[in-house]
Symmetry: C2
Subunit: 329 residues, 2 copies
Amino acid sequence: MASESSKVASLRDIAEETGVSIRTVRRALEGTGSTSAEARERVTEVAERLGYRPNLVARALRTGRTMEVGAVLGEVSELHMTKLRAFEERLREAGYSLFVLFGRRDRSGADPTRQVLDRLVQRAPMGVAFFGGLDLDMTEAIRETEAAGLPYMLLDHRGESGDVIGIRREEGVYEAIHYLARSGRRTIAYFGTDDRTRLDGYERAMAELGREPIIVINPEADPADLEPLLALQPRPDALQVSSDVLALKVLAQLHERGIAVPREIAVIGFDDRELTALSWPALTTLAQPNRDVGRTAAEVLLSKMGGDEPPAGGWSQRLPMRLVVRESA
Amino acid sequence: MASESSKVASLRDIAEETGVSIRTVRRALEGTGSTSAEARERVTEVAERLGYRPNLVARALRTGRTMEVGAVLGEVSELHMTKLRAFEERLREAGYSLFVLFGRRDRSGADPTRQVLDRLVQRAPMGVAFFGGLDLDMTEAIRETEAAGLPYMLLDHRGESGDVIGIRREEGVYEAIHYLARSGRRTIAYFGTDDRTRLDGYERAMAELGREPIIVINPEADPADLEPLLALQPRPDALQVSSDVLALKVLAQLHERGIAVPREIAVIGFDDRELTALSWPALTTLAQPNRDVGRTAAEVLLSKMGGDEPPAGGWSQRLPMRLVVRESA
DNA sequence: CTGAAAGCGCTTACAG
DNA sequence: CTGAAAGCGCTTACAG
């Protein structure tokens, strides 16, 4: 069955069938350069009939350009899949194909960096993208990638180095806090991980508002840790939480205690996970510009692959977040 | 910079450096066949020093085997990304690379089938996978894929034809209804889309229980449509909802009306979306075996690509769902 | 145990 | 306007 696959037509097949040279077939098909009308007509007719498609592998070998880009994926979430889609669609427009590799620890817990990079480099892509949430040693990954002469781009990485399309987290939280203040909230607290950029945004806004910051670091969102916050006098009437996942846990805790959201306490999340629009009440949150991150990363990578000089500020960019106001704040 | 990429070493480079023929280099590197110890030693040393990696493009051209598999992706969700990861990891073990293409309508609304298939076929993969939620004309897609002699596999497709790794939805819902009955629920209703397989499972279980089915078809989950259900005498004390997204909307509606979940009404969702574990109350739901679907699809595709004969029942398989009991039922 | 050579299907100077 | 030929880096009979 599969082995019966009829042989695909090559330029030579068309040349033999039409009686002209392979060189002429190419020019006729390409449309560039001059060809006699008669040759062109016969060639296109035969190519059509034989269902000719150029063999990309042969072309890649000859030109040294595989027209492939490799993406290393980490975390599984619709956020990253949205970035991936925008990234792939932009690359496809430019004639590139995207192959993917998941770079995470397997059961054994062994560092996958070597294996993933070997695979990546061996496939000889023209560029590489590293998505977020990877289990890789990124310093080594970037070094290896550059050593192999491969242009690369990071999408939304936390690390401090490398060319990255990032997100303005600090600014996002800063604006959310101001929104809460404008909505009349008096006592605004921060709850969640100790991610520096989020805290910076929170602290900057609170300083501008002339208010004392109230920060509870609690990466696990252990319900018990909400207690000290709720025991404060006056009790906070607004919470900026460091992620949507955590915010949903907080909502459940507030419901358990019979505290009304947003009447008694307003809650703002972070990420805009798809399902948070359906929580009760619907979560107000900071949306990551996933499509923009994907598309911009493709754009910049295309530029690097094209040999462009980096712009004055370097290749990195940081894109703004968007406050999505729903019901919880 | 990128253009400065040092040339990669080829077999010929190693041959010249060591003074043996290219043929000998290959045998020494491969380890198969016999080679003089001396030749093997020198060759491996030089290969190591030059950082030799076989050029996969050249190999593909020569052998006619690209060692690539193409995946066409549709819906963006962590469910599909989980399938994709399992699929890719299994293929990678077997030496294949996976490239991806998103097949969905663009703004213009034009049918993407042609464009996506052209890209796919042109890349000359050795196999193809179609993921769920595609905007493609699948009948044409399968026909074209087979016409090109490409083994393919569908992952969790609703269509009635084609080789597919599917999910036993009917059985999943059937078991959920029995679980509700065992938990002492008297009046169990179905709410959601008119998907036949889910309804079949619901109706089969209800028939076995000797109870009258109560079905409200409401794909949009318009809140108002919950009214007739809640007005029934006796009022349902359990709801099987057709998806987690819909179930979350239902939860919010019940909260709005002050109806306690699960005390007054139990709710079971469908899909096990990541964030439903965090709803209030945490949603009991039917989990899709995403990793298994991905891995099994890879396994079967590998088998098809290897030219195996189809098993007696055909290539298709349907995998069981798992009831994840949390708080809502 | 080893070498010389053909060929996968393109693209690209080079000649006429 | 067209043709003959080289070569990308492999793999694979074929000879010795």
